[in-house]
């Protein structure tokens, strides 16, 4: 088969797929229709009882950590597994021998970039801390805050080099923190089992309302901080492993 026939064949197959998907989309329920199956089963329950059952004023956090706790614990493990995958292929950086691309680049970093990054990094990290700690009240939470932290660490590394940044985030500090998300999640989930309740129950009965709220809040904060720290450090570690240039 020559190339032109092959291209036409691909085009016809793509058009057929497009037509099939178009029919499938036409069959889908309208967005925002109150009669949708998704809007008649779990959503009303989540919206009506989410605050008292899920325990968080922000319903999304309540769903993520309480109704779908197992799903979230799996996702937390996935990020950790991604780091293991990267480190299995690429080695950890060696801050004494390796350099980053910025340090070997012939172009000097502009003073505008250095000043802006120097000025903005503390503010970005402050915003990330706010987001992590307010995860159960406002949108955002551990993962978002951690991603912002990781992004600011990456921006700092891109501007000031691997050595200057990773001297602050030594391997001996990063290695325990990388697993903190999984450990915090499992530890918080296990608390309920001491009271004879199922794994990942955050509302522990038998206390007064305020004590129960306090325990719930403490567990959520532990999880959010664990996820946030781990996500940030994992992003920084993946970046450091990928961005290092070893001296031959």
């Amino acid at each position: 088969m020559n190339k032109k026939v092959q291209n036409y064949f691909v085009l016809i197959v793509m058009l057929l797929c497009w037509a099939v998907f178009l029919f499938a989309v036409a069959e889908m329920p309208l967005m925002g229709d109150p009669g949708n199956i998704t809007n008649t089963h779990v959503v009303p329950r989540y919206l009506e009882k989410g605050v008292e059952e899920g325990g968080a004023p922000n319903i999304v956090t309540g769903i993520i950590l309480n109704y779908r706790g197992y799903d979230t614990s799996g996702e937390v493990t996935v990020i950790f597994t991604a780091l293991i995958g990267v480190l299995a292929v690429l080695k950890r950086e060696n801050i004494k021998k390796d350099k980053s691309l910025v340090e070997i680049s012939p172009v000097k970093t502009s003073v505008i970039v250095t000043t802006v990054v120097k000025f903005l990094t503390p503010l970005i990290i402050l915003f990330a801390i706010y987001m992590i700690l307010h995860g159960d009240v406002s949108p955002g939470g551990g993962f978002q805050g951690g991603a912002i932290t990781g992004g600011s660490i990456i921006a700092f590394t891109l501007t000031f080099g691997l050595l200057a940044t990773m001297r602050k985030f030594r391997l001996s500090i990063r290695i325990p923190l990388e697993s903190s998300a999984v450990l915090a999640f499992i530890a918080s989930g296990l608390v309920a089992m001491f009271f004879g309740l199922p794994f990942l129950t955050f509302l522990i009965p038998g206390f007064g309302f305020h004590t129960q709220e306090l325990i719930r809040h403490a567990l959520f904060i532990i999880i959010e901080i664990g996820i946030g720290v781990a996500t940030g450090i994992i992003f920084a570690s993946i970046f450091a492993a990928m961005g290092k240039v070893s001296k031959e």
């Binding site: 949108p139 978002q144 991603a147 990456i154 992003f235 990928m242």
Partner: protein, 81 residues
């Protein structure tokens, strides 16, 4: 929800998606893809999903683009074809 803004954003999404696939310079493609992610973040916000908007802006537009750039700088910038 502003109808006109949504239309512009969605058209921009389609345009950037086509741009990513048409661009032979991988560095340019990575930057266009970052613009796609940033637009997508605004679309998530328009769909009342601020959690996803934050994630998309931080991970999609920020971290992923940097990882793409590193990969390009370690391999080749031009797509062979």
């Amino acid at each position: 929800m502003v109808w006109h803004l949504d239309l512009v954003l969605l058209l921009f999404l389609v345009a950037t998606a086509i741009g990513v696939y048409r661009t032979k310079d991988l560095l340019g493609a990575a930057i266009i893809f970052s613009a796609y992610s940033l637009t997508m973040a605004i679309v998530w916000q328009q769909l009342s999903a601020p959690d996803l908007a934050l994630t998309e802006a931080a991970v999609g537009a920020g971290v992923t683009t940097v990882l793409f750039l590193i990969t390009i700088s370690r391999t080749t910038r031009r797509e062979d074809d």
